[in-house]
C-alpha cells in the first residue's frame, strides 16, 4: 500500500485523462439520477408538492402484480433480444469484413435501420405483420402455412417486438463488430489460414476471442437498452394486446404520465436501475475474465 512516485503519477495521469469526460457525465448524468432516486421516496402526483413517503412506493412495488408481470416480460424480452442480436450480428460482420464486390453497399444496407426513425419502423412492421392484409401472412398463406396474429395476438406480440427490435439494432451490433474485426491484425488471420486452419476454426479460435471486448460492450449495451425497452412498444402495441407487451418502462410510463404517480414511477425506475446494474456488474466481471484468457 505504499504510494510510490510512479503510482502517484498514475493516479494523476488517470484523472487527467478521464476528468473532462467524467465531470461532464457526472454533472449531466449522475446528478439527475440521484435526484430521481430521491423522488422514489416521495408521494408526488405532479400536481401538488411531494411529501415524504418512506418506503411506501417500494412496498407498493412489491405488492403490485402488474409490476411483476412487467418485470417477467422484460426479462423474457431481454433473454431473447440480446442473444439473437449478437448471434446474427457477428457472422454478418465477418461476412462484411471480407474483400468482396459491393461490400460497401452491403454495409450501407445493413446500417439503414439505424438511420430509420422508430416511428417509421413501427409503421412498416405493423403493416408487414398486419394479420389480415400484411405481406408476411400473405407469404405464409402462399406456402400453405397458417396465418399468424403477430402484434395483434397476446401470445405472439412480445415475440413480434423482439423481431422488430432485433432488426432495428442489428446494424448497430454489426458496425461495432466490424470495428472490432478491423482491429484484428490481418496477418494473424492470414497466418491462421496458412496454418491450414479451416474458416470455421479460424472463426472460433482467432476472431471470436479477439472480438470479445466488443461482445462485452454489446452485451452490456444491448442489455441496458433492452431492459429500458419503450419506443418500439409505444409505436406498435401500446403495451397490449391485453398487456402482453407492457414491459417495465412502459409500466413506468403509465404510472408517471397516465396515473401521475410520480413517486411510484421513480421507484419502478430504481428497480430498473438495480436490474441493469446487477446485469452490468455480472457482465463486466465475466468480460474481464475472458480477457485474461485471451492474453
Amino acid at each position: 500500500m505504499t504510494l510510490d512516485r510512479r503510482k502517484l503519477a498514475d493516479h494523476a495521469a488517470g484523472w487527467g485523462f478521464a476528468a473532462p469526460a467524467v465531470v461532464l457525465i457526472g454533472v449531466f448524468g449522475l446528478v439527475p439520477v440521484v435526484w430521481s432516486f430521491a423522488l422514489s421516496f416521495q408521494h408526488t402526483d405532479l400536481t401538488s408538492p411531494g411529501t415524504f413517503a418512506g418506503g411506501e412506493n417500494y412496498a407498493k412495488l412489491v405488492a403490485d402484480p402488474l409490476f411483476w408481470d412487467a418485470a417477467r416480460r422484460t426479462l423474457v424480452y431481454v433473454a431473447l433480444f440480446v442473444p439473437v442480436t449478437l448471434a446474427l450480428a457477428l457472422p454478418i460482420a465477418v461476412m462484411l469484413n471480407q474483400r468482396i464486390r459491393g461490400v460497401v453497399l452491403y454495409r450501407l444496407a445493413v446500417s439503414v435501420p439505424l438511420v430509420t426513425s422508430t416511428v417509421a419502423t413501427g409503421i412498416m412492421f405493423s403493416w408487414l405483420a398486419n394479420p389480415q392484409f400484411g405481406l408476411v401472412n400473405a407469404a405464409l398463406d402462399a406456402v400453405g402455412l397458417p396465418k399468424q396474429g403477430f402484434f395483434s395476438d397476446p401470445g405472439q406480440a412480445l415475440f413480434a417486438v423482439v423481431a422488430m427490435t432485433v432488426w432495428g439494432w442489428l446494424g448497430f451490433a454489426v458496425i461495432i463488430y466490424l470495428a472490432a474485426l478491423q482491429n484484428v491484425p490481418r496477418d494473424l488471420l492470414e497466418a491462421s489460414s496458412l496454418d491450414g486452419c479451416g474458416r470455421a476454426r479460424s472463426f472460433w479460435h482467432v476472431e471470436l476471442p479477439l472480438v470479445s471486448p466488443a461482445t462485452g460492450f454489446l452485451l452490456v449495451w444491448l442489455t441496458i437498452n433492452g431492459l429500458q425497452l419503450f419506443d418500439a412498444v409505444y409505436v406498435t402495441t401500446k403495451g397490449g394486446p391485453l398487456r402482453a407487451t407492457t414491459v417495465l418502462v412502459y409500466h413506468l410510463y403509465n404510472e408517471a404520465f397516465v396515473s401521475f404517480d410520480g413517486g411510484y414511477a421513480a421507484a419502478i425506475g430504481c428497480a430498473v436501475f438495480v436490474l441493469i446494474a446487477a446485469f452490468t456488474l455480472l457482465q463486466l466481471r465475466f468480460n474481464r475474465r475472458s480477457h485474461y484468457e485471451v492474453r
Binding site: 435526484w35 430521481s36 430521491a38 423522488l39 416521495q42 408526488t44 402526483d45 405532479l46 400536481t47 401538488s48 408538492p49 411531494g50 435501420p113 439505424l114 430509420t116 426513425s117 422508430t118 416511428v119 419502423t121 413501427g122 409503421i123 405493423s126 403493416w127 398486419n130 389480415q132 392484409f133 402484434f151 395483434s152 397476446p154 427490435t165 432488426w167 432495428g168 439494432w169 448497430f172 449495451w221 437498452n225 429500458q228 419503450f230 419506443d231 418500439a232 409505444y234 409505436v235 406498435t236 402495441t237 401500446k238 403495451g239 397490449g240 394486446p241 391485453l242 398487456r243 410510463y253 403509465n254 408517471a256 404520465f257 397516465v258 396515473s259 401521475f260 410520480g262 414511477a265 421513480a266
Partner: protein
C-alpha cells in the same frame, strides 16, 4: 431505431412534483411582451390560426400573441410540464381534453371561472356543453374549448348498394347495425372497424355503446363503478357477437389502418369524427349518419382545450381566446378548417349555410352536438386509470379471450379500487 437514451420519440417525461414545485413558477412571457400560445395545428389549420392571430395583433398592440408550434399535440402535456420546470411556460397551451386533470392544482394554472362566467358578452353558456365540461374540473374553469368533436357512423355507399342493403337511417338499431355489418363482411372485407389498442381510442366507443344501452360509467356520486350493469353487458355482448361470432369487425391494433382500409373498400362502416372526413379519398362515396341506437342514439364528444397559465395568461391571452371563440370569428376559422362550430349561436349566423355547403358531411356531427352528446366522461384524476382498466376489458372481449360477464366483473373491481385509492 437507434441506440441511446435520448431517442425516445414521443416518450413522456413527467416526474417530480418536487422538481416542478422547486422550479420558480414565474410565467415569463417573451422579451417582446407577446404572450405565447402553444398549439399543435399544422397545414391549413395552422394557416387559418396564423391569419386570425395576425389580425388580432394589428388591432391589439398591448395584447399581442405569438403562436408557437408545440411539437405535436401528442406531446403537448409533457412539453407543458417541462416548461414549468424550465421556468418559461407559455400563457396558453392546447391540450387534449383528458390532460387537464394533470394540470389543475399547479400554481401556473389559472382559475378562470369568474372571468368567463361573469362575462355576459362572452357567453360561456352558449358554448356547446361538451367543450365547457372538458375545461371544468370540480366546478372550476381552467381554460376554454379549442375543438369539439364527436362520433358518427360513416359508411361507404357503394358497398351498401352492391350488397343491396338499405343505407343507415336515424332510427337504425343495434340489430340493424349488426346484421348489415355481417352481410357486408367476407372475402377480405369487414363490415365495421374497431380501434383495439386498449387506449382511450378503444374505450370511448365502448362508452357510446354503454350510454346507448342506457347505462353509465360511474354511479351518480362518482364513487363507484356503474358499468357492470345490464346495459354494460348488452354493450359488451354486441362487441363479442360482432367481433367473435360474426367476425364482421376489423380489429385495428392501433396503427390506424382502418381509414386506409375504408378508402380501399375493405371496411364498410366506421364510427369516427369529422377529422377523418378530410382523409377519405375522392373516389369513395360516403354517407354520414348518427350512431345506431338501443335505448338512445348517444354519442361521445372528444373535446380539446386551451389551458391558460399565469397572470399574463389571464390578462393578455384570455381576451384573445375570447375573441377567437366569438361566433363570427370561430365560424371564419371553421370555414377554413372544417372544424365543427363551438357555440350554439354560431349555427344561427347567416354565414353558417355556406359552412354547411362547403362541408356537407359535418351536418350530422353538428346536430349530434345539440341532440346526442348528452353525457361526458368524468373529469376526475382517476379517469386515466379507469380508461386503462376498461380498455383492457374491451380488448379481452373483442379478442374472444374473456366472456362479457367476466370482463365486466373484473374491471368493475379494479375501477372501484382506483376510485377508493385516492
Amino acid at each position: 431505431m437507434a441506440h441511446g437514451r435520448g431517442l425516445s420519440r414521443r416518450t413522456v417525461l413527467t416526474m417530480g412534483a418536487a422538481l416542478v414545485m422547486t422550479a420558480a413558477c414565474g410565467t415569463g412571457s417573451g422579451g417582446d411582451g407577446k404572450v405565447k400560445v402553444w398549439h399543435g395545428y399544422t397545414d391549413k389549420e395552422a394557416a387559418a390560426f396564423d391569419k386570425l392571430a395576425a389580425r388580432w395583433n394589428t388591432t391589439h398592440p398591448d395584447q399581442q400573441v405569438e403562436l408557437v408550434f408545440n411539437g405535436g399535440n401528442d406531446n403537448a402535456l409533457q412539453k407543458t410540464l417541462a416548461s414549468f420546470a424550465s421556468g418559461n411556460p407559455p400563457e396558453v397551451a392546447y391540450q387534449y381534453g383528458s390532460s387537464i386533470t394533470g394540470l389543475t392544482g399547479r400554481p401556473q394554472t389559472q382559475d378562470l371561472t369568474d372571468l368567463l362566467r361573469g362575462d355576459a358578452a362572452f357567453g360561456w353558456d352558449d358554448l356547446f356543453p361538451a367543450g365547457r365540461e372538458a375545461a371544468t374540473v370540480d366546478g372550476k374553469i381552467y381554460g376554454v374549448p379549442a375543438l369539439v368533436d364527436n362520433l358518427s357512423l360513416v359508411y361507404n355507399k357503394k358497398l351498401f348498394d352492391e350488397a343491396e342493403i338499405a343505407h343507415p337511417t336515424e332510427s337504425w338499431t343495434w340489430d340493424d347495425f349488426r346484421s348489415a355489418a355481417r352481410k357486408l363482411s367476407g372475402d377480405g372485407r369487414f363490415g365495421w372497424a374497431y380501434v383495439n389498442d386498449g387506449t382511450e381510442d378503444t374505450v370511448w366507443r365502448f362508452l357510446a355503446l354503454l350510454w346507448q344501452a342506457g347505462g353509465d360509467l360511474l354511479a351518480a356520486d362518482g364513487k363507484k363503478a356503474a358499468f357492470d350493469s345490464d346495459a354494460g353487458l348488452q354493450a359488451m355482448r354486441l362487441l363479442r357477437d360482432m367481433a367473435v361470432t360474426d367476425k364482421s369487425v376489423y380489429l385495428d391494433a392501433g396503427d390506424q389502418q382502418y381509414l386506409n382500409l375504408f378508402n380501399s373498400g375493405r371496411v364498410a362502416m366506421l364510427w369516427t369524427g369529422p377529422w377523418d372526413l378530410g382523409s377519405i379519398n375522392e373516389d369513395v362515396s360516403y354517407g354520414v349518419q348518427i350512431l345506431p341506437g338501443r335505448v338512445t342514439h348517444a354519442t361521445i364528444a372528444g373535446p380539446d382545450t386551451f389551458v391558460v397559465f399565469g397572470d399574463n395568461g389571464r390578462t393578455k391571452a384570455l381576451p384573445f381566446l375570447k375573441w377567437l371563440l366569438s361566433a363570427e370569428i370561430h365560424l371564419e376559422f371553421a370555414m377554413e378548417t372544417g372544424h365543427l362550430p363551438i357555440r350554439q349561436s354560431e349555427v344561427d349566423l347567416s354565414g353558417y349555410a355556406e359552412f354547411e355547403a362547403k362541408y356537407p358531411g359535418t351536418k350530422v356531427f353538428v346536430d349530434n352536438l345539440a341532440k346526442n352528446v348528452t353525457k361526458s366522461r368524468p373529469n376526475i384524476p382517476q379517469y386515466p386509470k379507469i380508461s386503462q382498466v376498461l380498455g383492457t376489458a374491451v380488448q379481452s372481449v373483442l379478442l374472444g379471450q374473456a366472456e362479457p360477464e367476466a370482463a365486466l366483473a373484473q374491471s368493475r373491481g379494479e375501477v372501484d379500487q382506483a376510485l377508493a385509492g385516492s
